[in-house]
């Protein structure tokens, strides 16, 4: 990114390639595609959970158990978890790249980000797939 904007030696034959791979192109496209899906998934989720029919006041364990009895809502929540976490994680990656001043700061903030993404994705996926409506208190 910043190297592609460097113009100090424009005719130098040893100027590094502006682009080593297409990762940033794919992440740009992913933000738009996942964003479209998340508009439906997240706004639908917020409407059902916070606004419709009493909103947050009717949510409890039984309500969750009723929803996750349906593969449709299991898939909805799984897709929302993965897309939101990757979309948000990629957004934070961009923000860290923009604002971190030192390479070490940038590196450790990204490591923290990737670790938290891994924890949330693994935990959330496990919860959806291993949910037990008859769990004993």
């Amino acid at each position: 990114m910043s190297e592609s904007l460097t113009l100090d030696k424009p005719r130098s034959p040893r100027r590094p390639a502006a682009r080593r791979n297409n990762f940033e192109l794919y992440s740009w496209a992913f933000m738009r595609i996942s964003g479209l899906a998340l508009v439906i998934l997240v706004l639908g989720h917020l409407f059902i959970m916070n606004i419709l029919d009493g909103g947050v006041h009717r949510i409890n364990f039984a309500f969750v158990a009723g929803r996750w009895a349906s593969p449709f809502w299991q898939f909805w929540d799984l897709a929302m978890l993965w897309l939101a976490q990757l979309h948000g994680g990629n957004g934070l990656r961009t923000i860290i790249d923009d604002y971190a001043r030192k390479d070490t700061t940038r590196f450790w903030l990204k490591m923290l980000l990737y670790a938290s993404m891994a924890v949330i994705l693994v935990l959330g996926t496990l919860v959806i797939f291993t949910f037990d409506p008859n769990i004993t208190a």
Partner: protein
């Protein structure tokens, strides 16, 4: 997690100070720039909420009681108000994201980016008025002596 946000905020603040020190001018922005700033802020806030929200939902694997207890905090007046803020942030991010997609892919998108911003904000207000009402109605009626 909050270290990320504070680092970004501090870096932004020192950039602005540095720019005004060096040249004496400071780009005060265009509505399009502020829409970009708001997109970042709402995105970061939503990401941090998602982190907390997956952890609290994971309590369904601990016990029904543990989950119900933490969900009760979502029903308290203060947190209920924060939920309105969350819905507002996510709705803005969604509408402005659609605007960004139109700017990128629609041939007339760049030309209409500004009217699309006002349209976005208009839809936001139109949705948030009834949305806020339905999110807070029960909490407010319980606070002021009503009951269910």
């Amino acid at each position: 997690m909050s270290t990320t946000a504070s680092t970004a905020a501090e870096a932004g603040a020192s950039d602005r100070a540095g720019a005004s020190r060096r040249s004496g001018t400071f780009y005060r922005g265009d509505p399009g720039m502020w829409s970009w700033v708001a997109h970042r802020v709402t995105g970061v806030l939503t990401f941090f909420f998602l982190f907390v929200h997956v952890l609290d939902t994971a309590l369904v694997r601990v016990s029904p009681n543990a989950y119900d207890e933490v969900i009760e905090t979502y029903k308290t007046p203060f947190v209920n108000l924060l939920e309105v803020g969350l819905v507002g942030a996510v709705l803005y991010h969604a509408l402005n994201g659609l605007r960004v997609i139109l700017v990128d892919f629609w041939e007339k998108g760049p030309q209409y980016q500004r009217p699309m911003l006002w349209t976005t904000l208009g839809i936001w207000v139109l949705v948030m008025i009834p949305g806020t009402y339905f999110m807070l109605a029960r909490t407010v009626s319980e606070m002021f002596g009503g009951g269910h």
